[in-house]
């Protein structure tokens, strides 16, 4: 797994609340049997019309969007189905962080396993981000903060975000969680041998 410590990017803003994982990747794209590139499936029904042409004013279709690593979304992003194909598609497109005031649980867990950082910020910061598409933001995993540009005197404004200590550690060190779990095998065997009932 790649180590992720920090990165800076302009933002793409998708100012829609309750974006569910069926929008992020429609079910017809879930028939893949390998971890193939899913960037074309990302928001397929919002990015492309029935003839397959790009819908011009959709934020991810705009000039420069493919180079932007940070998506700012409305509240409750990633709700619905547990499909991990959702963070896969976002990551394949080039996105490395999603920022919102609320991000759904299962989507968050899946994202952290795929080098996509779910960043929850307070409502005021969220509003500023929604109102300022294209702002250059730094995501600092080590410091657990994002840094926003300021108008006056070129100072940056740091905003902390919550991140599970273990998930942060895995991102910084490039640790694969399967490996970590495999190291617990003795404890797992102990548990299996000594539990009070067997499933």
């Amino acid at each position: 797994m790649d180590k992720i410590t920090q990165f800076t990017s302009a933002t793409t803003v998708l100012a829609i609340d309750d974006v569910d994982t069926d929008q992020i990747i429609p079910a017809r794209f879930l028939t893949a049997i390998t971890r193939s590139n899913m960037s074309n499936a990302l928001f397929a029904d919002w990015r492309f019309d029935a003839q397959g042409n790009e819908i011009a004013d959709f934020p991810l279709n705009q000039e420069g969007a493919k180079d932007r690593k940070i998506l700012v979304a409305g509240r409750n992003f990633g709700c619905g189905s547990s499909r991990e194909h959702a963070p896969w598609a976002l990551h394949d497109f080039g996105i490395r962080a999603v920022i919102s005031s609320e991000i759904a649980d299962i989507f968050s867990n899946n994202s952290l396993k795929n080098g996509l950082i779910p960043i929850i910020v307070d409502v005021a910061t969220h509003k500023w981000l929604l109102d300022n598409p294209g702002a250059e933001i730094t995501v600092d995993v080590e410091a657990s903060e994002i840094r926003l540009p300021q108008d006056k005197d070129n100072k940056v404004k740091p905003v902390s975000f919550p991140i599970d200590a273990f998930a942060r550690h895995c991102l910084l060190e490039g640790i694969d969680q399967t490996g970590y779990l495999m190291q617990q095998r003795d404890k797992i065997a102990d548990f299996e041998a000594n539990r009070s009932w067997q499933p």
């Binding site: 569910d20 069926d22 028939t31 029904d45 409750n76 609320e102 396993k113 969680q177 495999m182 499933p199």
Partner: protein, 468 residues
């Protein structure tokens, strides 16, 4: 020191290595149910890293999401004749993976092939006090038995295959206290739709919900499953109902339950799981269903719900609301009743069991589905299909002009040929009405089986209380 909740008892019983500030708990999984869509990448990772499945005896597999709902005579040309090529490959890959890794697969021809969250309980693998996972968010269904069922992604599917464990942080707990007697024509589906409407699609985020109260005690297991199934639509991690005599009666005699003296020991253990009287929840919500009407969704998430006789609210200042009613081609301050219906779908892990099918048959008996409506009825498993046919329900369905299909997820998420055309409006007993969920441009109205049946006859959204 207060007592423990049902959830805390189950949680504490499965901690292999306790949670610390720096590390999540190593958490044991008693039952892992798998299907063909969220597993191929997990098996590939196992293959690539040379790992085996740690406890194949605790894994059950089936095929449901992308399977056609017509008979599949064989996995070769027979499958190709009735399936798009990619889903067919995915199905074959599942068979290959299960064979290679020694996993019990309920495939075509097996009485227990069906929707993952239907077959677990059906064969008695779902039991009180168990932790149960699947690469599917409706794993919450199993909570109806007092198990902790929750959805995981494909990477975590790999974790469970390799170690039978997951890394988990303990969620908070929420009690939902449900009181009141359901009126005729109002069912479990209406209860959970009303609850999601009340607390919102993020109302349960970060919590495990326990459904409590006299109303819950009066429901049968299939009705309890309907409620727990849609817990995820409120954003919660899992939804649970304490086991009782109803639970034990349902499980008695099923294939995978403990046998002999183990059965008696299990009953004792199961009945001790109920929340202690002095247990404390992080949040509590009350819902009285005495005056509950049948519910229908009007928008594009399960929280956009309205009682069937009332009008769609007017939330003109809310951009999400405007976008939703535009997509659905409905109007604020207008009722959903009387809206023209193109398709009626009875099925999904929410409502495809015998209770649901009997309710639909009761309404369709001697009546006809409107000429303008296509109705699909999709049983949750092969054995449910068999049982329904034994009871003659299929004859009622077909005589009414509905299609009686093979088991599978079908039109809930349109992965094979059962899907909506652009603009078609479907009254559906499934669990998600997101934009395009059932087919690009398709419009979904979530409802109970009885509301679906009444609407199929009327050709428009109709109140089942008028026909009962």
């Amino acid at each position: 020191m207060s007592g423990k909740t049902l959830f805390e008892k189950v949680w504490d019983d499965h901690v292999v290595v306790p949670e610390t500030d720096d590390t999540p708990a190593v958490f044991y999984i008693d039952l892992h149910i798998m299907h063909e869509v969220t597993t191929p990448q997990a098996f590939n990772v196992l293959r690539d890293t040379g790992l085996q499945v740690h406890r194949p005896d605790l894994v059950l597999a089936t095929m449901d999401h992308s399977t056609p709902t017509v008979p599949v005579p064989d996995l070769g040309a027979g499958l190709d004749a009735v399936s798009d090529p990619e889903p067919a490959e995915q199905i074959r890959q599942m068979v290959k993976n299960c064979e290679e890794f020694g996993i019990e697969l309920h495939g075509f021809g097996d009485a227990h092939r069906g929707i993952v969250h239907v077959i677990g309980p059906e064969i008695g693998a779902t039991q009180p006090g168990k932790t149960i996972v699947c690469g599917d968010s409706h794993s919450s269904t199993h909570g109806a038995f007092g198990a902790m069922g929750f959805g995981i992604g494909s990477t975590e599917v790999g974790h469970v295959l390799a170690t039978q464990c997951l890394l988990q942080r303990k969620p908070k707990s929420m009690a939902v206290n449900i009181t009141g007697k359901l009126q005729r024509g109002v069912s479990a589906k209406d209860i959970i739709l009303a609850l999601i409407g009340k607390i919102g699609v993020d109302g349960g985020t970060g919590h495990v919900i326990e459904y409590r109260g006299e109303t819950i005690r009066g429901l049968n297991m299939e009705e309890r499953m309907t409620i727990c199934n849609m817990t995820i639509e409120a954003g919660a991690r899992a939804g649970m109902i304490a086991p009782d005599a109803t639970t034990i009666e349902f499980l008695k005699g099923r294939e995978k339950v403990p046998q002999g003296s183990d059965w008696d020991a299990a009953i004792e253990r199961w009945l001790s799981l109920a929340s202690d009287p002095d247990a404390v929840f992080d949040k509590e919500v009350d819902l009285d269903v005495s005056n509950l009407e049948p519910q229908v969704t009007f928008g594009t998430n399960p929280g956009m719900v309205v009682p069937i006789s009332k009008s769609i609210p007017n939330d003109a200042a809310n951009a999400t609301f405007i976008k939703a009613i535009d997509y659905m081609q409905v109007k604020a301050d207008q009722p959903m009743l009387g809206t023209k219906v193109d398709i009626v779908f009875v099925g999904s892990c929410t409502n495809s069991r015998m209770t649901d099918l009997r309710q639909v048959a009761n309404i369709l008996d001697g009546k006809k589905v409107a000429n303008s409506v296509r109705m699909l009825i999709v049983p949750g498993s092969q054995s449910i299909k068999n049982q329904a046919e034994e009871e003659g329900l299929d004859k009622i369905f077909v005589a009414a002009g509905a299609e009686w299909r093979e088991a599978g997820c079908s039109m809930c998420l349109g992965m094979n040929s059962d899907k909506l055309g652009k603009g078609e409006l479907c009254v559906s007993t499934s669990n998600r009405n997101f934009e395009g969920r059932q087919g690009p441009g398709g419009r979904t109205v979530l409802a109970s089986p009885e509301t679906a049946a009444a609407s199929a006859i009327a050709g428009v959204i109709a109140d089942p209380r008028e026909v009962l």
